[in-house]
């Protein structure tokens, strides 16, 4: 089965190459500062990609597979990695279906390009324009033990499905009702099977494009905080192509309903080497991207790259910023952590880090009040009270809608993160 998939992949190679060409970005406007296109956090080489921490191959028992350093990798952006993951999910699981608005022709962000042709319209199909319907339909499919991969076109439009997603989600368990509020346990004919994965485009901000952002109120939201109280659900946000593929395959195969949010800004801008084979990355585990001893910088999704910018600004501030960055702080070792799973989140990795560094800055795009950062800050102060040397600081979007022409001043960008680091280090 896998061999045929490789053939199919080859036949789609031209298509992928064509898509790839759109990923080329002009040089960043910020001069020497890194952007997503030049980020050191992305895997530029095959060797680095194959050494991705936590990566678990899902094909080790396949005798035809080439293992070890010989494994094939390909340069992909995020939407291509998502498409690759979906293709593997459909190939290996005859009961998997993908559906949502406009996905049959390839999706408005190309994440399902060619899948309907390859796997048939019975498995990759359009739905009428109804988010609550899509979420409920997926639960029904999953209740029969099938794999439902639903798509909500923008995270901003998940709210009509909020009732279905937070109260009605079903999970594995052949006999009991999952309890929360009044959740329906759509019982399962196959108790070992999984529930619906809702892939939702997390539009995020587009400011890493050389053009100014233009998502406005309803193409920019980050609703992960709303789902954080929905016990029984998992919420996952990847930062890069390799993360998107590995975390999405884990999400699809997880025995729980997962809301998988894909940062839209990264669809084409984040490019790295991605293994072509079937692999997974663990849910519920954070990843330490840059080790450090003086301050923990915690984030997820797109702001990872704003944080990378901030670290450069700290070490080597341009003349305009230099007066605000004391010499004594420039050599500070900042530990950068990608949380990856918002629910359940990796309390162990975060608190272990904060106990070492004594300082924590949390960065997210959603507004501050009752955002995911609030939950994390409360838990950290409970567990690290005696080790904290400064208040936990949150750098977030303001508690306002994401107003179109004000975006540059709304987002938690490099300078705001830099300021928070400096303030926290000099507290």
């Amino acid at each position: 089965m896998l061999a045929s998939r490789r053939l199919n992949n080859r036949s789609l190679a031209a298509l992928l190459r064509r898509c790839n060409s759109t990923a080329a970005e002009p040089p960043p406007a910020g001069g020497h500062l890194p952007s997503v296109a030049t980020s050191q956090l992305l895997n530029a080489t095959r060797e680095k990609a194959l050494r991705t921490p936590g990566l678990r191959w899902n094909d080790e028992d396949d005798p035809n597979i080439i293992v070890g350093a010989e494994r094939e990798c390909r340069k992909m952006n995020v939407y291509q990695a998502v498409r690759d993951a979906l293709s593997i999910a459909l190939t290996k699981d005859d009961n998997a279906v993908i559906f949502g608005e406009d996905i049959a022709f390839g999706g408005v962000f190309r994440c399902t390009m060619g899948l309907a042709e390859e796997f048939g319209r019975e498995r990759v199909f359009n739905t009428p324009l109804t988010e609550q319907g899509i979420a409920g339909f997926g639960i029904g499919i999953a209740a029969m033990g099938h794999t439902a991969i639903a798509e909500i076109q923008f995270a901003d439009y998940i709210y009509p499905a909020f009732d279905q997603a937070t109260r009605q989600r079903g999970c594995k368990d052949s006999i009991s009702l999952r309890r929360i509020v009044q959740r329906r346990w759509p019982y399962n004919s196959d108790p070992n099977h999984v529930c619906c994965t809702w892939r939702i485009y997390l539009p995020s901000f587009r400011t890493y494009k050389p053009l100014k952002g233009h998502g406005g109120l309803y193409h920019s939201q980050s609703p992960e905080g709303f789902f954080m109280g929905a016990s029984g659900l998992k919420v996952v946000i990847p930062r890069s192509p390799i993360q998107a593929k590995g975390l999405l395959l884990s999400s699809i195969r997880d025995p729980n309903p997962v809301v998988f949010m894909e940062p839209k800004i990264l669809y084409r801008s984040a490019v790295e080497q991605v293994p072509m084979d079937d692999f997974e990355l663990p849910l519920g585990r954070a990843e330490t991207l840059v080790p450090g001893a003086d301050l923990t910088l915690l984030t997820w999704g797109t702001p990872i790259y704003h944080c990378e910018t901030a670290l450069h600004l700290l070490a080597d501030p341009p003349p305009g910023l230099a007066p605000h960055v004391p010499e004594s702080l420039r050599k500070a070792k900042i530990e950068l952590i990608d949380l990856r799973s918002i629910l359940p989140w990796d309390v162990e990795t975060v608190t272990e880090s904060v106990k070492r560094t004594g300082r924590l800055v949390i960065v997210h795009e959603a507004g501050m009040t009752a955002g995911a950062g609030a939950e994390i800050a409360a838990e950290v102060q409970k567990r690290c009270f005696l080790r904290l040397e400064a208040p936990v600081k949150r750098v977030t979007g303001w508690d306002t809608p994401v107003a179109l022409q004000y975006e540059k001043f709304h987002i938690p960008d490099g300078v705001r993160i830099l300021d928070a680091i400096v303030e926290t280090l000099s507290y």
């Binding site: 009961n95 279906v97 559906f99 019975e122 199909f125 739905t127 009428p128 109804t130 609550q132 319907g133 979420a135 409920g136 339909f137 997926g138 639960i139 029904g140 499919i141 999953a142 209740a143 029969m144 033990g145 099938h146 439902a148 009509p160 009732d163 279905q164 109260r167 009605q168 999970c171 594995k172 368990d173 052949s174 006999i175 009991s176 009702l177 999952r178 309890r179 929360i180 009044q182 959740r183 329906r184 346990w185 759509p186 019982y187 399962n188 004919s189 016990s231 029984g232 998992k234 997880d254 025995p255 729980n256 519920g284 359940p344 309390v347 162990e348």
Partner: protein
């Protein structure tokens, strides 16, 4: 003022004006509003009936095929419902269970539809469909176990309110309180069945009030458009708690909406079990054959209160209810038919009532004496797979509190005694 509407739209320009690309509707040159439901001379959707109020076949009745044994089984199940309901209702009044909802007045609808289905058709109900489970052999003991939430409650492990039944074995998806959420889920179940178990269909019950929810629209739309073999059964009993159906919709009931979705629709006299049986059998056949949604609206009257938390005489006359019980009782109507066939008599009636009452009382006494599940089940089944840290920690926190206060804090002490092992698994 617009002139009265008619559905006789002039068609004389049909061939000259042609069609628009996204419809097969003929273009016309006369300005005329269309309303097939309330406009002018439009006919209401008729109600299918085969037995009159005294159990005699009406002229030209299309009687369903039944034999004596089947008729007796229908009647026994119709009688079992009020027997169980009366005991559970009184038991709630004595404070022995927290809540109950009766099916009084809808016995014909529920037993008639249940009998017309294949026992492996997947049923997604609202909450007044206990009769479907009873028809499928769920058993009185399981009904009692769920209502008492005792250790035998396999539906919900005592987590959900009474009458929130579920049983994978009986292809009955667990009930949940949020209205109409099961409707789009049913479409998803239907879709999965079409792919995996083509001999069966999904069946979805809901009341006329629930049909006002957005999920009704979503579910009907999905099951007709995608399409999915899903049989929708609307129980129109005239009331949603206190709201009469006249305040629920302005059109011709629920049935009139079916054709708008392109769905084959029938309205049936819900108090005529043979009409319900015949209509549902044909509706099931069509659903299966077309692989697409079909709608049945069963007209009845909610004789009982909405629930044990409702006194319906606050919004309707007691005499109105008494009249309906006397004039149009589905059980009496069918008994008269049975008697006319020589299938039933006073002796059989007496024997049945005594036997059912004895069975119900026996099950009630048994259920009352059983302890609840283990207290630690409070924390299980929230997630499948590995349990997240927060759930584990919170379970341990409650354990600690119970150790400290479990034997001295009276509200807990008394409650602990009701659980299996008296909560020893948590202390």
């Amino acid at each position: 003022m617009f002139r009265p509407l008619t559905h006789r739209i002039p068609r004389r320009s049909l061939h000259t004006l042609g069609y628009l690309p996204n419809t097969t509707s003929p273009l016309v040159s006369s300005l005329s509003f269309f309303n097939s439901v309330t406009g002018g001379s439009a006919d209401k959707i008729p109600t299918f009936r085969v037995l009159d109020g005294v159990g005699k076949p009406v002229d030209g009745a299309e009687m369903p095929e039944i034999d004596e044994a089947f008729a007796r089984r229908l009647y026994e199940n119709m009688q079992l419902l009020p027997t169980l309901d009366t005991v559970l209702y009184n038991v709630q009044r004595q404070g022995k269970i927290s809540f109950h909802m009766t099916s009084h007045g809808e016995e014909g609808t529920i037993v008639g539809t249940a009998a017309a289905l294949d026992n492996a058709d997947e049923v997604l109900g609202q909450y007044r469909e206990m009769g479907v489970l009873l028809w499928r052999g769920f058993g009185i003991d399981n009904v009692m176990a769920q209502c008492f939430g005792n250790q035998d409650d396999t539906s919900t492990k005592g987590r959900q309110m009474p009458v929130h039944f579920g049983s994978p074995k009986h292809h009955f998806h667990t009930i949940s309180s949020p209205l109409a959420t099961q409707i789009p889920q049913a479409a998803g179940v239907g879709y999965a069945l079409k792919r995996a178990r083509a001999q069966n269909i999904a069946v979805c019950f809901f009341g006329e009030g629930a049909a006002s929810e957005g999920d009704f629209h979503a579910g009907m739309l999905l099951a007709s458009t995608i399409p999915s073999p899903t049989l929708f059964i609307a129980r129109n009993n005239g009331f949603a708690i206190s709201t009469p159906s006249a305040e629920q919709y302005y059109g011709d009931g629920i049935a009139a909406r079916g054709p708008g979705y392109g769905i084959d629709t029938i309205r049936v006299d819900g108090n005529d079990i043979l009409a319900v049986l015949a209509a549902t059998r044909e509706a099931r056949r069509r659903t299966h054959e077309q692989g697409r949604a079909v709608l049945v609206e069963a007209m009845s009257y909610r004789v009982g209160h909405h629930s044990t938390s409702d006194d319906s005489f606050a919004y309707r006359q007691r005499s109105e209810v008494e009249d309906r019980k006397r004039i149009d009782n589905p059980i009496v109507r069918f008994r008269l038919f049975m008697e006319s066939q020589g299938w039933w008599g006073a002796e059989a009636e007496e024997e049945l009532k005594a036997r059912l009452k004895a069975d119900v009382m026996k099950a009630f006494k048994r259920a009352e004496a059983l302890p609840r599940h283990e207290l630690s089940e409070l924390f299980t089944d929230v997630y499948g797979g590995e349990e997240p840290w927060n759930i584990t920690e919170q379970r341990n926190e409650l354990k600690g509190l119970l150790k400290k206060y479990g034997s001295t804090w009276e509200p807990w002490k008394a409650e602990l005694a009701k659980f299996k092992n008296k909560g020893a698994d948590m202390v």
